[in-house]
Symmetry: C2
Subunit: 155 residues, 2 copies
DNA sequence: TACAAATTTAGAATTATTATTATTTAAAAA
DNA sequence: TTTTTAAATAATAATAATTCTAAATTTGTA
C-alpha cells in the first residue's frame, strides 16, 4: 500500500479515503467492472461514497493511463484496471469477458496502402466465441436473450 | 433494388417504405453511422420517419446479421452495414474510423490454456493510431479534447 | 377485399453519464 | 501546529442515448 500511495502522490493525484478504497479495489484486479460494479464494492467499505466520485476517479485514472476502457459493451462502459496490454475473449452467448495475455503485434501488419496514411500505435483484439459453460448448456439457457443487448458477465 | 427486396422478403422481413429507405442508405455503405446519422439521412427522403423506426430496423438487421455493431465508441452505438468481415483503424486524436480488409485469423491462435475452455468463433481487431490529417497538425488541433470522450468522425 | 400480424409513430420512460455547486478536505506553506 | 488554498466530495439536477408503450396504420396473404 505504501507504494500505491507514493506512486499516486508523485503524479499529483490527491489521495482521499474514497480514492484509496477505489485504488485498493482495482489493484491487481483482472475483471472488467462498470462504474456501478465499482460503486457497489466501494460502498461496502465506504458507505457514504457517491457515484460521482467513482466516475470522477475513474476518469482521472483513465486520463493518466492507469486504467483503460474496454469497448465491448454498448450499454455501459467497462473499465480494465489491469495495467499490462492484453486482449480479450468474449462469450457470444453469455457475454462473459476474459483476458488474453499474448502479444500478436508482429503478425498484425497493416496493408501498405493503409500504412501510407495511418501510423499505428497499438492494437487490440476481441476474440468472440463460446465459453465452457455455454458449450455445456448448448446455448439453450441464454439462447433466447438478445445477443447484442445481453448484459456482460465476467469470467 | 429488386434483389434487395427479394432478399429481405425471403427472410420474412416485412418491407415498408421506411425500411427500404434505410436499406438503400446502408447498401454498400462503408461508413460507421450511429442511429442518429441514419435518422438524419433518412429524413431527407422520408421526412416523417421516426427515430424509433430507425432503432427498430437497426435492431432487426443486427438480429439477422445483416448489420454489425462496431464497439469503439462508448458514447453512442455505431453500426457497420458492410457485410464482409473486416477490422478497423481508429485515430486516437480525432476518432475517425476506417476499414481494414485483411484476414489475420491464421496468426491469431489463442493460448492452449484458453482453448481448453473457450471455443473461438470469430475475431475483430482495432488498430489505434494517428491518421494522416492528425499527423500533419501534430495533434495540436485536437490535442486538448479528452481522447476517450471525443466524438467519432469517419474516414 | 378482408384479415391477422407486424410495423410505425409520438411521446413517455429509462438509464448511463455528466454537470453544478455548496461543503469538506488533503497537502503545502507559514 | 495552524493556516491556506486548490482540489475533491456528495447530493442533486441535467443531459442524452436508447427503449418502451399503445394507438393507428400498413404489409403480405388468403
Ligand atoms: Mn482485461
Ligand atoms: Mn467497417
Ligand atoms: Zn458463455
Ligand atoms: Zn485523426
Amino acid at each position: 500500500m505504501k507504494e500505491l500511495i507514493e506512486k499516486y502522490r508523485e503524479i499529483g493525484f490527491k489521495l482521499t479515503p474514497q480514492r484509496l478504497a477505489i485504488l485498493r479495489f482495482l489493484k491487481g484486479n483482472t475483471s472488467h467492472p462498470t462504474a456501478e460494479n465499482i460503486y457497489r464494492q466501494i460502498k461496502e467499505v465506504y458507505p457514504t461514497v457517491s457515484f460521482a466520485t467513482v466516475y470522477n476517479t475513474l476518469q482521472a485514472l483513465v486520463d493518466r493511463g492507469e486504467v483503460t476502457e474496454v469497448t465491448i459493451d454498448s450499454q455501459k462502459r467497462h473499465f480494465d484496471p489491469y495495467p499490462k496490454p492484453h486482449h480479450h475473449i468474449i462469450c457470444i452467448e453469455c457475454n462473459k469477458i476474459g483476458d488474453v495475455f499474448k502479444d500478436y503485434s508482429d503478425a498484425l501488419k497493416l496493408p501498405k496502402n493503409i500504412l501510407k496514411e495511418f501510423k499505428p500505435v497499438r492494437n487490440h483484439i476481441n476474440f468472440y466465441g463460446i465459453c465452457r459453460e455455454c458449450q455445456k448448456i448448448g446455448g439453450i439457457k441464454y439462447g433466447n436473450m438478445s445477443k447484442s443487448r445481453a448484459g456482460c458477465r465476467e469470467f
